[in-house]
């Protein structure tokens, strides 16, 4: 479920940009070079709009369902397995978030204490990302059927506001993805392998309580014990 998000969100952003280009309401500088290229086509009437906006809408409104179903399945999975307990931070863990962030930025020497599967900053981030997922799907439906689902539009403060929230949340997703990638690379090969296989390699010494003492930072290819929970 986690991995499906990557191609789905990529397609959603790609098709979303085609929709956005048709009417670039939010003046974001980064996109200027694209807008420039679009306009001559856009004025080219049927063909220009047809190639981009119509196709973009068709992709967006098709793959949006897949993203919605995948998200719903993931939420059901979290609820069903109790996996949400690993994700939603406790108050104590929230308190340690600044320490984790400072450590990761290299501004704080001593590593924060191990906090179970995910540390406080991860928990906070992943929880917020899930909430962002809910917001982006809900605003998406608000924009898709603003009259039939008018309660959603009202909830998000109107059509224009829902549009802005939908767009901004996308930008946050892009920002999250960048940091996410940096962190995965920093966490090393073992961590990445565990993301794919559902197992993580740990050194044999503290084998009394395997699950709680992963050592993703340890270097070397020590052929030790492997533990895992077979989740995907």
């Amino acid at each position: 479920m986690h991995w499906i998000n990557f191609p789905l969100i990529t397609i959603m952003i790609w098709s979303g940009l085609r929709i956005y280009w048709a009417e670039q309401e939010f003046a974001f500088g980064i996109l200027d070079w694209e807008l420039f290229a679009f306009f001559p086509d856009g004025f080219n009437e049927a063909l220009g709009l047809d190639r981009k906006l119509a196709r973009g809408l068709a992709f967006h409104l098709s793959f949006g369902w897949l993203l919605t179903f995948n998200g719903a399945a993931y939420l059901a999975y979290l609820a069903g397995t109790g996996g949400w307990r690993q994700l939603v931070p406790t108050r104590d863990q929230l308190r340690r978030v600044p320490a984790v962030v400072l450590h990761d930025l290299g501004l704080r020497k001593e590593a924060p204490p191990k906090d179970g599967h995910y540390n406080g900053a991860q928990q906070l981030t992943y929880t917020v990302v899930i909430l962002m997922g809910i917001v982006i799907v809900a605003t998406g439906f608000a924009l898709f059927k603003p009259v039939q689902l008018s309660f959603l539009v009202t909830m998000f403060g109107g059509y224009e506001s829902a549009r802005l929230i939908h767009f901004s949340t996308t930008m946050l997703f892009v920002a999250f993805f960048a940091v996410h990638m940096i962190q995965v690379v920093r966490a090393g090969r073992r961590n990445f392998t565990s993301m794919v296989t559902g197992y993580e390699v740990i050194d044999i010494a503290p084998a009394d309580e395997p699950g709680s003492s992963p050592t993703p930072d340890s270097n070397g290819e020590s052929d030790d014990m492997v533990v895992g929970t077979s989740n995907a």
């Binding site: 991995w3 047809d50 809408l57 109790g82 059927k145 059509y159 197992y199 492997v226 533990v227």
Partner: protein, 249 residues
């Protein structure tokens, strides 16, 4: 707490190889599917699979459609004259004096013709609604005119029961739309001839246009010349050019 399983490093290597292979195969299959959609045969200029989802979306949302669910209305102070965004069907000269509305039945038979005064004789209604363009912009605007349902009542006796769509086109035939009957019967679907107490401007659709908050602007045809009642979906300018035929909001 989930169970933790311990396995040997050999087993682990085997499983991780298997996982990466499965993952790689899934990625390749995904890419292949995506390319296939991109190059699928076009149906009304949309790739077949995506056109199929448009149709599924239509069946979902048209079955949820309620004629008594009204779109939000606004205060007149929030409304302004609608931005002009398309001139399809308006390129020929507007002949106000010679204009008339032709009404056809499902087999093309002539049912009647109307002057603007005929439409103005129907009960007058006004609405300030948010007009939404499929390109993404929206604007609160004002429309004044007759409910299509009141116009329809003039013909109800002559029409067969299985009318499902209303086809409308401009006098020159260059722009045309097809709208489902449920939307046409809705109380917020107007044949509009005025806005802000003045006749609608030429590029906004004079002398008579369709106005409804239930569809994107592409369906709200300007300068209607002919109305035809159909048993099935008729032609639709943008629907034939890759867009969702339903275009409902």
């Amino acid at each position: 707490m989930r169970e933790v399983e311990e396995i040997s490093i050999e087993d682990y290597k085997k499983r991780s190889r298997r996982s990466f292979l499965t993952g790689g195969a899934a990625a390749a299959a995904g890419w292949f599917t995506f390319r296939n959609i991109q190059s699928a045969e076009l149906v009304d200029r949309a790739p077949g699979p995506l056109r199929a989802v448009h149709e599924i979306n239509e069946s979902i949302w048209s079955s949820l459609f309620r004629e008594d669910h009204l779109a939000k209305e606004y205060d007149i102070s929030e409304a302004s004259i609608l931005r002009v965004n398309g001139r399809h069907g308006l390129r020929s000269e507007l002949d106000l004096a010679g204009w008339q509305l032709n009404v056809l039945g499902p087999d093309g038979e002539e049912l009647g013709t109307h002057t603007l005064d005929d439409i103005k004789a129907l009960p007058w209604h006004e609405m300030n609604i948010e007009h939404k363009c499929i390109e993404g912009w929206a604007q609160v605007t004002n429309w004044q005119g007759a409910r299509f349902s009141d116009f329809l009542a003039l013909y109800e006796d002559q029409l067969p029961d299985d009318i499902s769509d209303v086809y409308m086109e401009t006098p020159d035939g260059d722009y045309y739309v097809s709208v489902d009957m449920a939307t046409m019967r809705h109380p917020q679907t107007l044949l509009a001839y005025d806005n802000f107490g003045e006749p609608i401007r030429e590029l906004n659709g004079a002398p008579l246009r369709l106005a409804t908050p239930l569809k994107y602007g592409i369906k709200q045809i300007k300068r209607i010349g002919t109305i035809q009642f159909l048993r099935d979906r008729g032609g639709d300018y943008w629907g034939e050019r890759g867009y969702d035929w339903y275009a409902g909001l």
